[in-house]
Symmetry: C2
Subunit: 280 residues, 2 copies
């Protein structure tokens, strides 16, 4: 049995489609199709039903995928072990962080890290989707709440508060009872800053919903309404002015997350220290 065939089959089982599996493996979708077919042939067992527009696992395929799944975990553990045994300082480090944190707090200071340690190549991915450290989609991650996955080490390295911001002109000319608001889309209704702003907005109108904080900030700058923005973002921008409201301010903690296997790697430690400095 060819292990690479198994790898491709597991990717298909995990991703659901040939194309998605191919993307996750960085190969052509045809290759995935061929390797799955090869695996079926070598096992003399039908693993997938080829439906017109989709691949669906057979019962046998589901059982085999479940049994074989630990191989993927072990393979990633190997990759982490390899990364961990690189004793020198240098190499590729991937950081995953919420886009706003990445753009405002991390990216502008990367030049300093680069000067101190030219051997380190940073890959910074600003994604809402939390990258999996277990699957080694990132070596370090910034999260806004403590992760619970096993094998991960989290440390609280910062805290920031939100405030409402609008353009100076908008705040001067608009009476509070006529305020309009800019919010995340409704899938984010449960995050603290959204709930906080919604409570304050009460029945007043929400004129824009965007899942991108930068878009909200841009809209607020043009005088479209008030947006709940992190202070580190709003205070630095002269085109935005804070509108203080009463009550307890809302804030989020910032957690730095690293996999246990990579904790002691010199390069990872250095980058982790750098990120802490960025948040200080």
């Amino acid at each position: 049995m060819d292990w690479t065939d198994l790898q491709h089959f597991l990717a298909l089982a995990r991703e659901g489609t040939l194309s998605a599996a191919a993307r996750s493996l960085n190969v052509d979708h045809v290759t995935v199709a061929r390797r799955v077919a090869a695996l079926e042939a070598s096992l003399s067992l039908r693993l997938v039903d080829r439906r017109p527009r989709s691949y669906e696992l057979t019962e046998d395929g589901k059982r085999i995928a479940k049994i074989a799944a630990p191989m993927t975990d072990t393979a990633f553990a190997v990759e982490r072990a390899v990364q961990a045994s690189k004793s020198g300082i240098g190499g590729d480090i991937t950081i995953s962080a919420p886009p706003s944190l990445a753009n405002v707090l991390i990216a502008p200071k990367l030049i300093r890290l680069r000067q101190q340690h030219p051997g380190i190549r940073i890959k910074l991915i600003g994604e809402k989707r939390t990258a999996s450290l277990n699957r080694r989609e990132a070596d370090l991650a910034l999260r806004l709440s403590r992760p619970s996955e096993p094998g991960l080490i989290a440390r609280k390295i910062g805290y920031f508060e939100f405030a409402l911001y609008g353009s100076p002109d908008y705040l001067k000319t608009t009476p509070p009872h006529a305020f309009a608001f800019i919010a995340y889309d409704s899938s984010m209704d449960d995050v603290p800053q959204q709930r906080w702003m919604m409570r304050f907005a009460a029945s007043r109108e929400i004129v824009l919903r965007s899942n991108d904080l930068e878009n909200q900030a841009a809209a607020a700058r043009t005088g479209m309404g008030l947006a709940a923005l992190p202070k580190f973002l709003g205070e630095a921008d002269p085109r935005l002015e804070r509108h203080d409201i009463g009550g307890r301010p809302v804030g989020r903690e910032v957690w730095l997350v690293v996999h246990r296997d990579l904790r002691r790697t010199p390069t990872v430690r250095i980058v982790a220290g750098f990120i802490e400095d960025c948040l200080a």
Copy 2:
């Protein structure tokens, strides 16, 4: 990271040499060398020291091999699961048994199994070395003592006794105090039948040591001395005559061993039943 590269590296780590790893994988030794080199290149990590006539794992290599080893176990678990999900009766079944049991009790009756179930292809390996059911070197095994490995199901399906046999002529012409004996080599001094015979032989001479029971039987037939043979082997041969001695006879239990994962497979059940009949 290519999983097949890992597979080849693990085979090398397990077997110790390129050639042995190549044999276990049914490929050319050059292939193993290249895949290990490819793995090293893709990880940027030296895994082996190439010494003049041997490959030796580096410290990194040992650590990686240890971490990755579970992948091999899982791969074999997949193969067993595949075997187990073959619902029809038929296919290849490998039986491992001590040579004497295989030759005398199993092999002659295989024709009956073949007649009843033409779809089943049996591979019978008579080896002293106990084949690994975990590594799927065999689907069913006969052992003379209860195995302790985890995941294996053992059932006692038989019992046979040993007796001393010599040629009829030898027994007629030789007085007991002049008996000569035929034994296993000294690596087998601890097995019960050997201890039993040695105690009876006391100071009398051992004229032949062989690790093959068939050789011992052949020597006994020619009148070279007495050999401790299973009764099922000695009684059926007119050229051998039993020499009874006092005391409690020595015997061995026969255990039928199957992996838990294959227990319920129809084909395996049928073959297991057949083997039980052979021993009854």
